[in-house]
């Protein structure tokens, strides 16, 4: 698997898109720092961008890479390699190179701005960690979709739909259900609802860490009570890890049954 990972990684590192992605984050980091003139504020703005954009890029990139490297995959399938190592190698190659673009692209401007001397370093690290988690989750989901649909257009369509659902529609439905059932106690429901969507979970984690949960009112207090504790933090990260493991398991089983 490591050899495939290495080749996929190098392949991506040489492709234009990794540089575009890296440069985008570099620019974003610099502009935000310049406009906010404050590390903590820049982190908050950045969170809003990352929470939506990282999943999108992970999804698109994952699907695109899978379809583009189809020929390469077929070449590998005829070699004495396990199917799981071929696809996991490719998956980790994509996920790691995307995460690296994210971490380096944002890290460099923040480090130059004096991140290490600032108290925002923990918030910023949390931001990068959740960004990395989201990259791994959505790349895995994208690989799942691409493995399931031979037709590129369908694959892209479903991938975008998935992103749209988790990033936007889910929140809408969630909010509507909260309004609809406002007469009932909704603490548990909203906690579970947040846990089930990796984007919401990441957002909540960062928001609470940034200590602006006061803005969230009563719900914020409940959330703070849960996510603020070590227990809540462990549960949240476990959920994120499960969000990575389940799609990866499906990549393995799906790829074993597929015809090429």
């Amino acid at each position: 698997m490591l050899k495939i990972l290495k080749y996929s990684f190098y392949d991506l590192m040489r492709s234009r898109w990794s540089y575009v992605y890296f440069a985008f984050y570099l620019l974003l980091g610099m502009v935000l720092l310049f406009l906010n003139n404050n590390l903590s504020k820049a982190v908050i703005t950045l969170m809003n961008v990352i929470i939506v954009l990282v999943p999108l890029i992970g999804t698109i990139f994952g699907v695109m890479y899978y379809y583009n490297s189809k020929e390469f995959t077929e070449l590998l399938l005829a070699q004495p390699l396990k199917r799981s190592s071929i696809f996991l190698g490719q998956y980790f190659g994509v996920a790691i190179s995307l995460s690296m673009s994210l971490i380096l692209g944002l890290g460099i401007p923040f480090i130059f701005y004096g991140l290490f001397k600032s108290s925002a370093i923990w918030d910023f690290s949390l931001l990068l960690i959740t960004g990395t988690f989201l990259t791994f989750i959505f790349t895995a989901l994208a690989f799942n979709i691409a493995l399931s649909y031979e037709n590129k257009i369908k694959g892209f369509g479903f991938a975008i739909l998935l992103w749209l659902f988790l990033a936007i529609i889910y929140d809408g439905l969630f909010l509507m259900s909260l309004i609809l059932f406002e007469d009932y106690p909704l603490d548990k429901l909203s906690l579970v609802g947040t846990m089930l969507n990796p984007i919401d979970l990441s957002r909540t984690l960062i928001l609470l860490k940034l200590d602006i949960s006061a803005l969230l009112g009563y719900t914020g207090a409940i959330f703070k009570k849960f996510f603020g504790t070590n227990f809540g933090l462990i549960i949240s990260f476990t959920t994120l890890v499960i969000w990575i493991i389940l799609p990866i398991l499906r990549i393995v089983t799906k790829s074993k049954k597929k015809d090429f």
Partner: protein, 235 residues
Amino acid sequence: MVTIQNLHKSFGKNTVLKGLDLTIGNGGIFAILGPNGSGKTTLIKSILGMVIPNKGSIAVFGESTKHQSKYRHQIDYLPQIANFPNNLKVKELIKMIKDLRGKTELDKALIERFKLTPFLDKKLGNLSGGTKQKVNLVLTFMFNSPLVILDEPTTGLDPIALIRLKDLIQIEKQKGKTILITSHIMSFVEEVSDEIVFLLEGQIYFKGSISDLKTKTNQPDFEHAIASILQENHA
């Protein structure tokens, strides 16, 4: 060497292989023939484990191929359409496959045979179809495995390269290898193959030597013998 029993495969509603039985012995050149869509490539890909059969068993060198990958060390495969990652150089691709599969020194002689030296530093995306096929041939033959599977090996080759390929196939046969070939070029098949396996509607219609086929169909030459089978079954 290869034993296939009761192999079934369908893609959705399209049933391609219907209970195919085939035994391929040690050594010699076997041509797998059949009309378009008769299941030649599906059969080959099943042997390679790229297509998962619905039913039936395949054994290569006496071992079942189901969920295995190591047996492919014994197989060299030339895919039908030479599709390679376009942004790799020829040199890099050869190096990569060696890295994945194991050391070999045979690539140099093969590069020399197909006169590929001037193309080594070119990207695969910029090569012509015929040159890609030559690269494909180098990648296939460089591991010296006892079972060689060639899917349409003549595609895109110029006459000189074709002669070199035929020589190469004969040399490999002398080493005692088993070579499976599919091709639509009947003259090529007639020239190189020892035995014919004729697929029709997902089953083996005929297996034997070319002369057997001629007597069976009562036709003086090979091309007409094949044509008569097809006519009989489609009329």
